[in-house]
Symmetry: C2
Subunit: 447 residues, 2 copies
């Protein structure tokens, strides 16, 4: 992508618009979005000007944050209305908070009654719920008609609408009250005898997704059951809409991004080439939080100023203790955070897990304690120091194991995502305990 | 899942087999796999014994590592052959390295010619390539026939085979030499006029996936183009097989897992309830690697033993310097690692990126430098110490920015995944430079 971005950059700088047009001609909207992100800010608007109106809507859907806002601001309202007229209702609902209200109004005004109803239905639910992901299903069929009739209906629908909905892999079957009965995969529609009724060709669908089911849960259901699409039903089993796997893939990618970036205190969809002042500010917050925890550790060290003055080796070795505690803790933390996300950890097995992590911690603490004691004895020629070092290592590794298990569970209980905040809280704990154990033991024994 | 695991655990302990059977009756294979993982080892085999043979194959596909091996060892060969007879060829190829060779042989012997050919074709390619993901396409159609003929063919195929392949959303159209011409979505098949030929109802497919394209790249193509399935073609455009979106979702999940776990030195698919000695050993390696980097930092501190002896405040403040460097570095590292994975960073923009990170680092370094200087001056009443502290902070934050940019690019160049190894290398760099800058400056000025 960056090679292509490099070539496009050159073409823009040489103002060779024809070249730019042909370079982007065959790119998918997502690929175009990536090229825009890989370009430095001053080159983005000239490229945007070359994107055909018909594609702009789909490209905007793939963008986020400041870049999205900038591009929208630099597109005329008429062009926005044109470029967005073809996108799906659930997608429009994701984007509309970024659009000028006049554009949204113009688009709603231009919708036919059916589209307007579908838009209103999607807007009822938050973006990160099944209701926000679903599209209203325009292709539900009655269970008592024959497949032949369904095929005739679909042919008519296509003649009327131009094409069938995207990613249509199955039809939803309903009764006369729009109550969901099952899914009719197109592969059944094309392979069963034409006289069969829809009801006879249905596959059962054990999955029940409610409009307020979280997007995360929807993704899990799709993964677990290898679905291509699934119905969204209200409490009475009435069909509200359909979620397709492409929406779910977006949810999965978002979640993975969030976990990956969140641990470094970065927000989702960062813009590598955002204005630096902007980026500096966003990152400063995380540095500030970290500074507080670092000074908490420094404060613990400060308590033992007198001891360090007498035995400087303590200052040399103390980062080793803290770091081993941090590593042990982050291993357990990662494992437990994953277990929580997969819903494999709960009251039925948390004690078992904790005791097991303590055993693992003890084994590794004793082993590495012996190793570091050996190193310290050789380095400083001081048996007592070596022994204290080893004991502190055991203490901090066990602290890591306990914090790594309990911190994510505690955060989860408080409604905070452990994947985001777990690391900082853990490091604060292991650093403080590590320094305290090592310097405290040394003060008791050596000083 | 853990609540269910808890209930199942009770039922197993009470030896209420009937209850167990009814509890697991409606679970999908993936859900069953998760319950098995959430159970402690001694309860897993009793549950496994209650899983119907027909489901065991699909469940095994969702499992990994030691648990997978244990369950296979505790299933009779006949039952394995029975339970695996219905799974897809690409899936069998993923699993067969774990199976006893006699089971694999029995399965191959029981295959008809067509299935045996498909199995052989998949085995040609590594698991993490398009060739390893694809299934041989049994439903290719010729472009010159009418849709009516296709429908007739599919109905016959179903009568013969019992059902059509899973996740069939489109048919691949080929010429008489099996050269790929385009995809016929089932939604076109059911909505176009019956007299239309396949060739007229095709959608173009700009995606060209080769059998040796990496699974990661395949996932990106699916994401970017919102595909449900895609053809795998050889260099001459001949159709080799089809990849479906459910395989791609598995790849995405695996990748996300690997990134999440790899940073803590954990392997993919960890078993929370594996025997502790096993787990201890696996984690010990990462602790050992970390110990080396921690001692490297300790060695740097050791160089300045005399200075610390004179000014103990140095020992108190030095972890703050190292930690701020580490945080800055890991922010940049995360951003750059992501950019590399998305192919947005390359020679065309790496210098621009580096200079930008340096500007962001300078802004944050100066700001937080002033803050920490203030704290140090108030704490220790020493203006010079405060100034040195601030300068060291600027140095280490800039080091973090540079290392965060160059380390992942360097690792990538060496063929090492930056998402896995980046963190350790970075911390080593920022720790050593941080301690050296702070203690070195202090030695020059204060001592």
């Amino acid at each position: 992508m960056h090679e292509l971005a490099g070539i496009i950059k050159q073409a823009i700088e040489q103002e060779a618009n024809g070249d730019v047009t042909s370079l982007i001609e065959n790119l998918s909207p997502a690929e175009l979005a990536r090229v825009l992100e890989a370009l430095q800010s001053p080159l983005r608007l000239p490229l945007w000007a070359q994107v055909p109106t018909a594609q702009k809507g789909e490209v905007l859907l793939e963008l986020h944050g400041d870049l999205l806002t900038t591009l929208i601001e630099n597109t005329s309202e008429d062009e926005l209305v044109d470029s967005l007229s073809a996108i799906q209702m659930d997608e429009l609902a994701d984007l509309d908070e970024y659009l000028p209200i006049s554009v949204v109004n113009a688009m709603v005004a231009a919708m036919d009654v059916q589209r307007r109803q579908r838009y209103a239905a999607v807007k009822l639910y938050p973006d990160d719920t099944a209701g926000g992901l679903m599209d209203i299903d325009a292709t539900a069929v009655r269970a008592d008609v024959s497949l032949k009739a369904v095929l005739r209906y679909l042919r008519k629908l296509r003649q009327k609408e131009g094409e069938l909905p995207e990613h249509l892999d199955s039809l939803m079957a309903v009764d006369r009250n729009n109550k969901f009965l099952g899914m009719l995969p197109l592969s059944n529609l094309v392979s069963y005898d034409l006289q069969t009724t829809v009801g006879e060709a249905l596959v059962d669908c054990v999955t029940s997704i409610k409009p307020l089911t979280s997007a995360k849960e929807v993704a899990r259901v799709f993964e677990d059951q290898d679905l291509l699409s699934a119905p969204v039903l209200d409490d009475n089993g009435v069909l509200l809409g359909r979620i397709t796997v492409d929406d779910v893939i977006d949810v999965m990618r978002d979640q993975a991004e969030r976990n990956f970036l969140g641990r470094a205190g970065l927000e989702k969809h960062p813009d590598m080439f955002a204005p630096v002042l902007n980026s500096s500010l966003k990152r400063a917050v995380w540095l500030g939080i970290n500074l507080i925890t670092a000074f908490a550790a420094a404060w613990v060290i400060g308590l033992f100023e007198a001891s360090i003055e007498k035995v400087v080796a303590l200052a040399i070795l103390m980062p080793v203790v803290a770091s081993m505690g941090g590593v042990t803790g982050s291993q357990t933390l990662t494992l437990v955070t994953r277990g929580i996300a997969l819903e494999q950890i709960g009251s039925s097995n948390v004690w078992r897990l904790l005791s097991q992590e303590l055993v693992i911690g003890s084994i590794n603490g004793l082993f590495w304690g012996a190793v570091v004691a050996g190193i310290a004895i050789v380095w400083f020629g001081d048996w007592t120091l070596g022994l204290i070092f080893a004991m502190a290592l055991v203490v901090v590794i066990l602290t890591g194991a306990v914090s790594g298990t309990l911190i994510p569970l505690g955060l989860k209980h408080l409604g905070i995502d452990p994947a985001l905040a777990g690391g900082v809280v853990l490091t604060t704990a292991t650093d403080m305990v590590g320094f305290f154990a090592f310097l405290g033991l040394a003060t008791l024994v050596l000083i």
